[in-house]
Symmetry: C2
Subunit: 249 residues, 2 copies
Protein backbone atom coordinates (compact mmCIF):
# COMPACT_ATOMS: atom_id res chain seq x y z
CA UNK A 1 0.00 0.00 0.00
CA UNK A 2 2.05 2.84 -1.24
CA UNK A 3 1.28 6.41 -0.32
CA UNK A 4 1.04 8.55 -3.38
CA UNK A 5 2.05 12.19 -3.58
CA UNK A 6 -0.82 14.24 -2.19
CA UNK A 7 -1.65 17.67 -3.49
CA UNK A 8 -5.34 17.01 -3.47
CA UNK A 9 -5.77 15.89 -7.03
CA UNK A 10 -7.75 12.95 -5.72
CA UNK A 11 -10.16 14.95 -3.59
CA UNK A 12 -10.69 17.51 -6.32
CA UNK A 13 -12.12 14.85 -8.59
CA UNK A 14 -15.14 12.73 -7.74
CA UNK A 15 -15.50 13.94 -4.16
CA UNK A 16 -15.78 17.55 -5.22
CA UNK A 17 -18.13 16.60 -8.00
CA UNK A 18 -20.37 14.64 -5.70
CA UNK A 19 -20.58 17.34 -3.04
CA UNK A 20 -21.34 19.97 -5.66
CA UNK A 21 -24.46 18.00 -6.38
CA UNK A 22 -25.61 18.60 -2.81
CA UNK A 23 -24.40 22.10 -2.05
CA UNK A 24 -23.23 25.15 -3.97
CA UNK A 25 -19.49 25.20 -3.33
CA UNK A 26 -17.18 28.21 -3.73
CA UNK A 27 -13.65 28.15 -5.06
CA UNK A 28 -12.42 28.32 -1.48
CA UNK A 29 -14.42 25.22 -0.57
CA UNK A 30 -12.85 23.32 -3.43
CA UNK A 31 -9.44 24.50 -2.31
CA UNK A 32 -10.10 23.41 1.26
CA UNK A 33 -11.13 20.00 -0.01
CA UNK A 34 -8.00 19.73 -2.09
CA UNK A 35 -5.82 20.64 0.88
CA UNK A 36 -7.33 18.32 3.41
CA UNK A 37 -6.07 14.95 2.41
CA UNK A 38 -3.42 13.33 4.50
CA UNK A 39 -2.20 11.04 1.75
CA UNK A 40 -3.70 8.87 -0.91
CA UNK A 41 -3.10 5.14 -1.04
CA UNK A 42 -3.63 2.63 -3.78
CA UNK A 43 -5.19 -0.37 -2.05
CA UNK A 44 -5.53 -3.80 -3.68
CA UNK A 45 -8.84 -5.61 -3.89
CA UNK A 46 -9.97 -7.59 -0.88
CA UNK A 47 -8.23 -5.44 1.71
CA UNK A 48 -9.81 -4.18 4.90
CA UNK A 49 -9.57 -0.43 5.29
CA UNK A 50 -11.07 -0.64 8.75
CA UNK A 51 -11.90 -3.68 10.82
CA UNK A 52 -14.77 -4.29 13.16
CA UNK A 53 -13.64 -3.24 16.61
CA UNK A 54 -11.23 -0.57 15.40
CA UNK A 55 -11.45 2.87 16.90
CA UNK A 56 -10.96 5.08 13.89
CA UNK A 57 -10.93 8.83 13.48
CA UNK A 58 -11.18 11.29 10.69
CA UNK A 59 -12.65 10.40 7.34
CA UNK A 60 -11.94 8.24 4.34
CA UNK A 61 -12.75 9.12 0.76
CA UNK A 62 -12.82 6.70 -2.15
CA UNK A 63 -11.66 8.31 -5.35
CA UNK A 64 -11.33 5.22 -7.52
CA UNK A 65 -12.72 1.70 -7.32
CA UNK A 66 -15.44 0.05 -5.25
CA UNK A 67 -15.33 -0.55 -1.51
CA UNK A 68 -18.04 -1.66 0.88
CA UNK A 69 -19.23 -1.81 4.44
CA UNK A 70 -19.80 -5.37 5.56
CA UNK A 71 -20.22 -7.79 8.44
CA UNK A 72 -19.44 -11.48 8.71
CA UNK A 73 -21.26 -14.31 10.40
CA UNK A 74 -19.39 -16.95 12.31
CA UNK A 75 -19.84 -19.41 9.46
CA UNK A 76 -18.12 -16.95 7.14
CA UNK A 77 -21.25 -15.63 5.46
CA UNK A 78 -20.79 -12.02 4.49
CA UNK A 79 -23.40 -9.30 4.18
CA UNK A 80 -22.56 -6.07 2.42
CA UNK A 81 -24.47 -3.09 3.80
CA UNK A 82 -23.25 -0.32 1.57
CA UNK A 83 -21.14 0.35 -1.46
CA UNK A 84 -18.56 3.08 -1.35
CA UNK A 85 -17.99 4.29 -4.87
CA UNK A 86 -15.76 7.10 -6.17
CA UNK A 87 -16.72 10.35 -4.51
CA UNK A 88 -18.08 8.69 -1.39
CA UNK A 89 -16.78 10.00 1.90
CA UNK A 90 -17.18 7.98 4.99
CA UNK A 91 -17.28 9.53 8.29
CA UNK A 92 -15.53 7.64 11.02
CA UNK A 93 -17.27 9.60 13.72
CA UNK A 94 -18.46 6.35 15.12
CA UNK A 95 -15.45 7.01 17.29
CA UNK A 96 -17.55 9.70 18.97
CA UNK A 97 -19.22 6.79 20.55
CA UNK A 98 -17.29 3.62 20.53
CA UNK A 99 -15.72 1.13 18.17
CA UNK A 100 -16.59 0.18 14.61
CA UNK A 101 -19.49 -2.25 14.57
CA UNK A 102 -18.73 -3.27 10.98
CA UNK A 103 -15.77 -3.42 8.64
CA UNK A 104 -14.94 -1.48 5.51
CA UNK A 105 -13.07 -3.30 2.78
CA UNK A 106 -12.19 -2.93 -0.87
CA UNK A 107 -13.99 -4.92 -3.54
CA UNK A 108 -11.56 -3.82 -6.25
CA UNK A 109 -8.29 -1.96 -6.30
CA UNK A 110 -9.13 1.42 -4.79
CA UNK A 111 -7.58 4.82 -4.52
CA UNK A 112 -8.31 5.95 -0.99
CA UNK A 113 -7.75 9.38 0.52
CA UNK A 114 -7.44 9.72 4.26
CA UNK A 115 -8.60 12.89 5.96
CA UNK A 116 -7.16 13.53 9.39
CA UNK A 117 -9.48 14.49 12.26
CA UNK A 118 -8.25 18.10 12.37
CA UNK A 119 -8.62 18.51 8.63
CA UNK A 120 -12.08 17.01 8.87
CA UNK A 121 -13.02 19.62 11.46
CA UNK A 122 -11.69 22.34 9.16
CA UNK A 123 -13.92 21.08 6.40
CA UNK A 124 -16.95 21.18 8.65
CA UNK A 125 -16.21 24.75 9.64
CA UNK A 126 -17.02 25.79 6.07
CA UNK A 127 -20.81 25.98 5.96
CA UNK A 128 -21.24 24.97 2.33
CA UNK A 129 -18.98 21.96 2.72
CA UNK A 130 -20.60 20.98 5.99
CA UNK A 131 -23.99 21.12 4.31
CA UNK A 132 -22.79 18.97 1.44
CA UNK A 133 -21.31 16.36 3.75
CA UNK A 134 -24.40 16.37 5.93
CA UNK A 135 -26.69 15.85 2.98
CA UNK A 136 -24.49 13.09 1.64
CA UNK A 137 -24.74 11.39 5.03
CA UNK A 138 -28.53 11.69 5.05
CA UNK A 139 -28.67 10.11 1.61
CA UNK A 140 -26.40 7.28 2.78
CA UNK A 141 -28.88 6.56 5.52
CA UNK A 142 -31.77 6.68 3.06
CA UNK A 143 -29.90 4.12 0.96
CA UNK A 144 -29.68 1.82 3.97
CA UNK A 145 -33.46 2.01 4.31
CA UNK A 146 -34.01 1.33 0.64
CA UNK A 147 -31.71 -1.69 0.86
CA UNK A 148 -33.86 -3.00 3.69
CA UNK A 149 -36.86 -2.63 1.39
CA UNK A 150 -34.89 -4.40 -1.31
CA UNK A 151 -33.96 -7.35 0.88
CA UNK A 152 -37.29 -7.67 2.57
CA UNK A 153 -39.81 -7.10 -0.16
CA UNK A 154 -38.26 -7.63 -3.59
CA UNK A 155 -37.60 -10.86 -5.48
CA UNK A 156 -34.11 -11.85 -6.57
CA UNK A 157 -34.41 -10.34 -10.05
CA UNK A 158 -36.01 -7.19 -8.71
CA UNK A 159 -33.25 -6.75 -6.15
CA UNK A 160 -30.58 -6.86 -8.80
CA UNK A 161 -32.53 -4.58 -11.11
CA UNK A 162 -33.01 -2.08 -8.30
CA UNK A 163 -29.36 -2.15 -7.35
CA UNK A 164 -28.30 -1.52 -10.95
CA UNK A 165 -30.67 1.44 -11.22
CA UNK A 166 -29.38 2.92 -7.98
CA UNK A 167 -25.79 2.56 -9.09
CA UNK A 168 -26.57 4.22 -12.41
CA UNK A 169 -27.79 7.31 -10.59
CA UNK A 170 -24.90 7.34 -8.16
CA UNK A 171 -22.27 6.73 -10.83
CA UNK A 172 -23.79 9.40 -13.05
CA UNK A 173 -23.53 11.89 -10.18
CA UNK A 174 -19.76 11.52 -10.30
CA UNK A 175 -19.50 11.43 -14.07
CA UNK A 176 -18.70 7.74 -14.35
CA UNK A 177 -21.48 6.73 -16.71
CA UNK A 178 -21.75 6.80 -20.45
CA UNK A 179 -25.39 6.82 -21.45
CA UNK A 180 -26.95 4.00 -19.48
CA UNK A 181 -23.78 2.05 -18.95
CA UNK A 182 -21.04 2.05 -16.36
CA UNK A 183 -18.24 -0.12 -15.04
CA UNK A 184 -19.39 -2.53 -12.37
CA UNK A 185 -16.09 -4.15 -11.43
CA UNK A 186 -17.44 -6.62 -8.90
CA UNK A 187 -18.08 -10.35 -8.99
CA UNK A 188 -21.32 -12.28 -8.81
CA UNK A 189 -20.25 -13.39 -5.36
CA UNK A 190 -20.07 -9.76 -4.26
CA UNK A 191 -23.51 -9.18 -5.74
CA UNK A 192 -24.77 -12.20 -3.82
CA UNK A 193 -23.39 -10.86 -0.54
CA UNK A 194 -25.08 -7.56 -1.33
CA UNK A 195 -28.51 -8.88 -2.21
CA UNK A 196 -28.67 -11.63 0.38
CA UNK A 197 -28.58 -14.50 -2.07
CA UNK A 198 -26.15 -17.18 -3.23
CA UNK A 199 -23.88 -16.62 -6.18
CA UNK A 200 -25.68 -19.43 -8.01
CA UNK A 201 -28.94 -17.60 -7.75
CA UNK A 202 -27.33 -14.32 -8.76
CA UNK A 203 -26.11 -16.07 -11.86
CA UNK A 204 -29.56 -17.40 -12.64
CA UNK A 205 -31.16 -14.01 -12.09
CA UNK A 206 -28.59 -12.11 -14.13
CA UNK A 207 -29.22 -14.55 -16.95
CA UNK A 208 -32.91 -13.83 -16.67
CA UNK A 209 -32.33 -10.09 -16.91
CA UNK A 210 -30.00 -10.60 -19.84
CA UNK A 211 -32.39 -12.87 -21.73
CA UNK A 212 -35.17 -10.36 -21.17
CA UNK A 213 -33.01 -7.76 -22.92
CA UNK A 214 -32.84 -5.54 -19.86
CA UNK A 215 -29.12 -5.61 -19.23
CA UNK A 216 -25.92 -6.55 -20.99
CA UNK A 217 -22.56 -7.26 -19.46
CA UNK A 218 -19.34 -7.17 -21.45
CA UNK A 219 -16.43 -7.78 -19.12
CA UNK A 220 -16.84 -5.28 -16.32
CA UNK A 221 -19.09 -3.01 -18.34
CA UNK A 222 -22.74 -3.07 -17.42
CA UNK A 223 -25.32 -1.61 -19.78
CA UNK A 224 -28.92 -1.05 -18.80
CA UNK A 225 -30.40 -1.64 -22.25
CA UNK A 226 -33.98 -0.91 -21.32
CA UNK A 227 -33.84 1.41 -18.36
CA UNK A 228 -37.54 2.20 -18.44
CA UNK A 229 -38.56 -1.42 -18.08
CA UNK A 230 -35.81 -2.09 -15.57
CA UNK A 231 -36.99 0.77 -13.36
CA UNK A 232 -40.56 -0.37 -13.67
CA UNK A 233 -39.87 -3.96 -12.74
CA UNK A 234 -37.81 -2.91 -9.71
CA UNK A 235 -40.23 -0.12 -8.78
CA UNK A 236 -37.18 2.09 -8.65
CA UNK A 237 -38.14 5.55 -7.43
CA UNK A 238 -34.94 7.56 -7.05
CA UNK A 239 -36.42 10.11 -4.67
CA UNK A 240 -34.43 8.59 -1.81
CA UNK A 241 -31.20 9.53 -3.56
CA UNK A 242 -32.25 13.16 -3.65
CA UNK A 243 -30.96 13.70 -7.16
CA UNK A 244 -32.64 14.10 -10.51
CA UNK A 245 -34.56 11.25 -12.05
CA UNK A 246 -32.55 9.54 -14.72
CA UNK A 247 -34.11 9.99 -18.12
CA UNK A 248 -34.88 6.62 -19.61
CA UNK A 249 -32.91 7.55 -22.72
Amino acid sequence: MKVLPGGGAAMSGPVLRKLQGFSRLEEADAAALAMCEAGTRLVPAGTDLIREGDRPEGMLAITEGFACRYKLRENGARQIMAYLIPGDVCDLDISVLNRMDHAIGTLTTCRVARIAPEASRDLRSRPALARGLHRAAIVDEAILREWIMNLGRRSAVERLAHLFCELLVRMRAVGLTCGNSYDLPITQLDLADTTGMTSVHVNRSLGELRRAGLIERKGKRLTLCDLARLMEMAEFRPNYLHREMPTAA
Copy 2:
Protein backbone atom coordinates in the same frame (compact mmCIF):
# COMPACT_ATOMS: atom_id res chain seq x y z
CA MET B 1 -56.04 12.90 18.12
CA LYS B 2 -56.36 15.04 21.12
CA VAL B 3 -53.61 17.31 22.32
CA LEU B 4 -52.84 16.70 25.92
CA PRO B 5 -51.66 19.31 28.38
CA GLY B 6 -47.92 19.71 27.91
CA GLY B 7 -45.60 20.60 30.73
CA GLY B 8 -42.96 18.17 29.63
CA ALA B 9 -43.98 15.20 31.70
CA ALA B 10 -43.76 13.10 28.57
CA MET B 11 -40.29 14.17 27.57
CA SER B 12 -38.97 13.81 31.09
CA GLY B 13 -39.74 10.14 31.07
CA PRO B 14 -38.33 7.66 28.56
CA VAL B 15 -36.64 10.26 26.34
CA LEU B 16 -34.63 11.63 29.22
CA ARG B 17 -33.81 8.15 30.39
CA LYS B 18 -32.64 7.07 26.97
CA LEU B 19 -30.43 10.10 26.39
CA GLN B 20 -28.89 9.72 29.84
CA GLY B 21 -27.61 6.40 28.64
CA PHE B 22 -25.64 8.17 25.94
CA SER B 23 -24.50 11.37 27.60
CA ARG B 24 -24.15 12.75 31.12
CA LEU B 25 -27.01 15.22 31.41
CA GLU B 26 -27.28 18.04 33.93
CA GLU B 27 -30.42 19.22 35.65
CA ALA B 28 -30.59 22.07 33.17
CA ASP B 29 -30.52 19.64 30.27
CA ALA B 30 -33.43 17.74 31.73
CA ALA B 31 -35.29 20.99 32.23
CA ALA B 32 -34.63 22.03 28.63
CA LEU B 33 -35.95 18.69 27.45
CA ALA B 34 -39.06 19.07 29.59
CA MET B 35 -39.69 22.55 28.20
CA CYS B 36 -39.26 21.79 24.55
CA GLU B 37 -42.37 19.91 23.65
CA ALA B 38 -44.97 21.64 21.59
CA GLY B 39 -47.79 19.36 22.67
CA THR B 40 -48.31 15.69 23.21
CA ARG B 41 -50.90 13.73 21.28
CA LEU B 42 -52.42 10.36 21.87
CA VAL B 43 -52.49 8.72 18.46
CA PRO B 44 -54.44 5.54 17.69
CA ALA B 45 -52.80 2.50 16.13
CA GLY B 46 -52.40 2.44 12.39
CA THR B 47 -52.08 6.18 11.94
CA ASP B 48 -49.46 7.90 9.84
CA LEU B 49 -47.51 10.50 11.76
CA ILE B 50 -45.71 11.54 8.59
CA ARG B 51 -46.32 10.46 5.03
CA GLU B 52 -43.87 9.86 2.25
CA GLY B 53 -43.50 13.12 0.34
CA ASP B 54 -44.21 15.33 3.34
CA ARG B 55 -41.82 18.13 4.12
CA PRO B 56 -41.61 17.98 7.89
CA GLU B 57 -39.63 19.99 10.39
CA GLY B 58 -38.60 19.71 13.99
CA MET B 59 -38.58 16.40 15.78
CA LEU B 60 -40.96 13.77 17.06
CA ALA B 61 -40.55 11.77 20.22
CA ILE B 62 -42.41 8.60 21.09
CA THR B 63 -43.10 8.37 24.78
CA GLU B 64 -45.54 5.45 24.78
CA GLY B 65 -46.32 2.70 22.29
CA PHE B 66 -44.64 1.39 19.17
CA ALA B 67 -44.30 3.27 15.89
CA CYS B 68 -42.26 2.48 12.81
CA ARG B 69 -40.66 3.80 9.66
CA TYR B 70 -41.97 2.01 6.60
CA LYS B 71 -42.38 2.01 2.83
CA LEU B 72 -45.01 0.41 0.64
CA ARG B 73 -44.76 -1.31 -2.72
CA GLU B 74 -47.37 -0.71 -5.38
CA ASN B 75 -48.96 -4.07 -4.63
CA GLY B 76 -49.45 -3.00 -1.02
CA ALA B 77 -46.53 -4.96 0.44
CA ARG B 78 -45.08 -3.12 3.39
CA GLN B 79 -41.53 -3.14 4.68
CA ILE B 80 -40.76 -1.76 8.10
CA MET B 81 -37.28 -0.26 8.35
CA ALA B 82 -37.18 0.77 11.99
CA TYR B 83 -39.11 0.59 15.20
CA LEU B 84 -39.65 3.72 17.21
CA ILE B 85 -40.15 2.73 20.82
CA PRO B 86 -40.63 4.88 23.90
CA GLY B 87 -37.72 7.26 24.27
CA ASP B 88 -36.92 7.31 20.58
CA VAL B 89 -36.59 10.71 19.03
CA CYS B 90 -36.76 11.07 15.32
CA ASP B 91 -35.15 13.87 13.60
CA LEU B 92 -37.08 15.29 10.72
CA ASP B 93 -34.04 17.04 9.36
CA ILE B 94 -34.62 15.26 6.14
CA SER B 95 -36.24 18.58 5.42
CA VAL B 96 -32.72 19.99 5.22
CA LEU B 97 -32.67 18.21 1.96
CA ASN B 98 -35.98 17.40 0.51
CA ARG B 99 -39.10 15.43 1.24
CA MET B 100 -39.64 12.33 3.31
CA ASP B 101 -38.66 9.24 1.36
CA HIS B 102 -40.56 7.00 3.75
CA ALA B 103 -43.49 7.20 6.11
CA ILE B 104 -43.71 7.01 9.88
CA GLY B 105 -46.78 5.37 11.36
CA THR B 106 -48.02 3.98 14.65
CA LEU B 107 -48.23 0.24 15.22
CA THR B 108 -50.11 0.68 18.50
CA THR B 109 -51.71 3.58 20.28
CA CYS B 110 -48.86 6.00 20.88
CA ARG B 111 -48.17 9.04 22.93
CA VAL B 112 -46.24 11.36 20.64
CA ALA B 113 -44.50 14.59 21.56
CA ARG B 114 -43.78 17.11 18.87
CA ILE B 115 -40.75 19.35 19.15
CA ALA B 116 -40.87 22.53 17.09
CA PRO B 117 -37.88 23.47 14.91
CA GLU B 118 -36.85 26.36 17.18
CA ALA B 119 -37.06 24.22 20.28
CA SER B 120 -35.06 21.54 18.54
CA ARG B 121 -32.33 24.08 17.79
CA ASP B 122 -32.36 25.09 21.45
CA LEU B 123 -31.80 21.50 22.46
CA ARG B 124 -28.87 21.19 20.12
CA SER B 125 -27.28 24.29 21.56
CA ARG B 126 -26.78 22.39 24.81
CA PRO B 127 -23.63 20.31 24.26
CA ALA B 128 -24.59 17.37 26.45
CA LEU B 129 -28.01 17.08 24.86
CA ALA B 130 -26.58 17.49 21.38
CA ARG B 131 -24.11 14.71 22.11
CA GLY B 132 -26.86 12.43 23.37
CA LEU B 133 -29.03 13.04 20.33
CA HIS B 134 -26.09 12.58 17.99
CA ARG B 135 -25.13 9.29 19.57
CA ALA B 136 -28.70 8.08 19.47
CA ALA B 137 -28.77 8.90 15.75
CA ILE B 138 -25.54 6.99 15.15
CA VAL B 139 -27.01 3.97 16.91
CA ASP B 140 -30.17 4.23 14.81
CA GLU B 141 -28.01 4.02 11.71
CA ALA B 142 -26.13 1.05 13.13
CA ILE B 143 -29.47 -0.65 13.68
CA LEU B 144 -30.33 -0.16 10.02
CA ARG B 145 -27.11 -1.95 9.09
CA GLU B 146 -27.79 -4.80 11.49
CA TRP B 147 -31.27 -5.17 10.04
CA ILE B 148 -29.71 -5.51 6.60
CA MET B 149 -27.55 -8.29 8.02
CA ASN B 150 -30.67 -9.81 9.51
CA LEU B 151 -32.63 -9.77 6.26
CA GLY B 152 -29.77 -10.85 4.06
CA ARG B 153 -27.99 -13.52 6.04
CA ARG B 154 -30.22 -14.95 8.76
CA SER B 155 -32.94 -17.57 8.51
CA ALA B 156 -36.51 -16.85 9.51
CA VAL B 157 -36.13 -18.14 13.06
CA GLU B 158 -32.81 -16.39 13.51
CA ARG B 159 -34.26 -13.12 12.29
CA LEU B 160 -37.02 -13.22 14.88
CA ALA B 161 -34.64 -14.30 17.62
CA HIS B 162 -32.29 -11.45 16.77
CA LEU B 163 -35.08 -8.90 16.72
CA PHE B 164 -36.31 -10.03 20.13
CA CYS B 165 -32.80 -9.74 21.59
CA GLU B 166 -32.36 -6.27 20.15
CA LEU B 167 -35.68 -5.12 21.55
CA LEU B 168 -34.80 -6.49 24.96
CA VAL B 169 -31.72 -4.27 25.08
CA ARG B 170 -33.55 -1.24 23.77
CA MET B 171 -36.54 -1.67 26.06
CA ARG B 172 -34.27 -2.23 29.03
CA ALA B 173 -32.53 1.06 28.27
CA VAL B 174 -35.79 2.88 28.92
CA GLY B 175 -36.81 0.77 31.88
CA LEU B 176 -39.57 -1.13 30.14
CA THR B 177 -38.36 -4.65 30.86
CA CYS B 178 -38.87 -6.92 33.79
CA GLY B 179 -36.14 -9.53 33.84
CA ASN B 180 -36.04 -10.93 30.33
CA SER B 181 -39.58 -10.00 29.43
CA TYR B 182 -41.25 -6.97 27.96
CA ASP B 183 -44.45 -5.95 26.21
CA LEU B 184 -44.31 -6.47 22.47
CA PRO B 185 -47.66 -5.03 21.48
CA ILE B 186 -47.48 -5.79 17.77
CA THR B 187 -49.04 -8.42 15.56
CA GLN B 188 -47.49 -11.27 13.62
CA LEU B 189 -48.27 -9.34 10.49
CA ASP B 190 -46.17 -6.45 11.76
CA LEU B 191 -43.37 -8.88 12.55
CA ALA B 192 -43.66 -10.25 9.03
CA ASP B 193 -43.35 -6.80 7.50
CA THR B 194 -40.32 -6.23 9.70
CA THR B 195 -38.48 -9.43 8.92
CA GLY B 196 -39.36 -9.66 5.25
CA MET B 197 -41.53 -12.74 5.55
CA THR B 198 -45.22 -13.64 5.42
CA SER B 199 -47.35 -13.76 8.53
CA VAL B 200 -47.83 -17.49 8.01
CA HIS B 201 -44.15 -18.08 8.16
CA VAL B 202 -43.79 -15.81 11.18
CA ASN B 203 -46.37 -17.94 12.90
CA ARG B 204 -44.52 -21.14 12.02
CA SER B 205 -41.21 -19.70 13.21
CA LEU B 206 -42.63 -18.32 16.45
CA GLY B 207 -44.06 -21.76 17.14
CA GLU B 208 -40.63 -23.22 16.58
CA LEU B 209 -39.04 -20.81 19.06
CA ARG B 210 -41.81 -21.52 21.55
CA ARG B 211 -41.55 -25.30 21.22
CA ALA B 212 -37.78 -25.03 21.68
CA GLY B 213 -38.45 -23.30 24.99
CA LEU B 214 -36.71 -20.11 23.90
CA ILE B 215 -39.62 -17.71 24.13
CA GLU B 216 -43.05 -17.50 25.60
CA ARG B 217 -45.86 -15.17 24.68
CA LYS B 218 -48.79 -14.46 26.96
CA GLY B 219 -50.99 -11.84 25.37
CA LYS B 220 -48.72 -8.95 24.52
CA ARG B 221 -46.06 -10.04 26.95
CA LEU B 222 -42.95 -11.59 25.45
CA THR B 223 -40.55 -13.53 27.66
CA LEU B 224 -37.13 -14.64 26.48
CA CYS B 225 -36.97 -17.81 28.54
CA ASP B 226 -33.50 -18.86 27.51
CA LEU B 227 -31.73 -15.68 26.55
CA ALA B 228 -28.32 -17.30 26.32
CA ARG B 229 -29.44 -19.83 23.73
CA LEU B 230 -31.51 -17.24 21.92
CA MET B 231 -28.52 -14.91 21.60
CA GLU B 232 -26.36 -17.74 20.45
CA MET B 233 -28.73 -18.97 17.77
CA ALA B 234 -29.18 -15.43 16.41
CA GLU B 235 -25.50 -14.60 16.80
CA PHE B 236 -26.67 -11.51 18.62
CA ARG B 237 -23.75 -9.28 19.47
CA PRO B 238 -25.10 -6.07 20.98
CA ASN B 239 -22.02 -3.99 20.26
CA TYR B 240 -23.88 -2.12 17.53
CA LEU B 241 -26.32 -0.78 20.13
CA HIS B 242 -23.48 0.75 22.10
CA ARG B 243 -24.93 -0.24 25.44
CA GLU B 244 -24.05 -2.87 27.98
CA MET B 245 -24.37 -6.53 27.18
CA PRO B 246 -27.49 -7.99 28.70
CA THR B 247 -26.66 -10.58 31.28
CA ALA B 248 -28.19 -13.87 30.36
CA ALA B 249 -29.93 -13.98 33.73
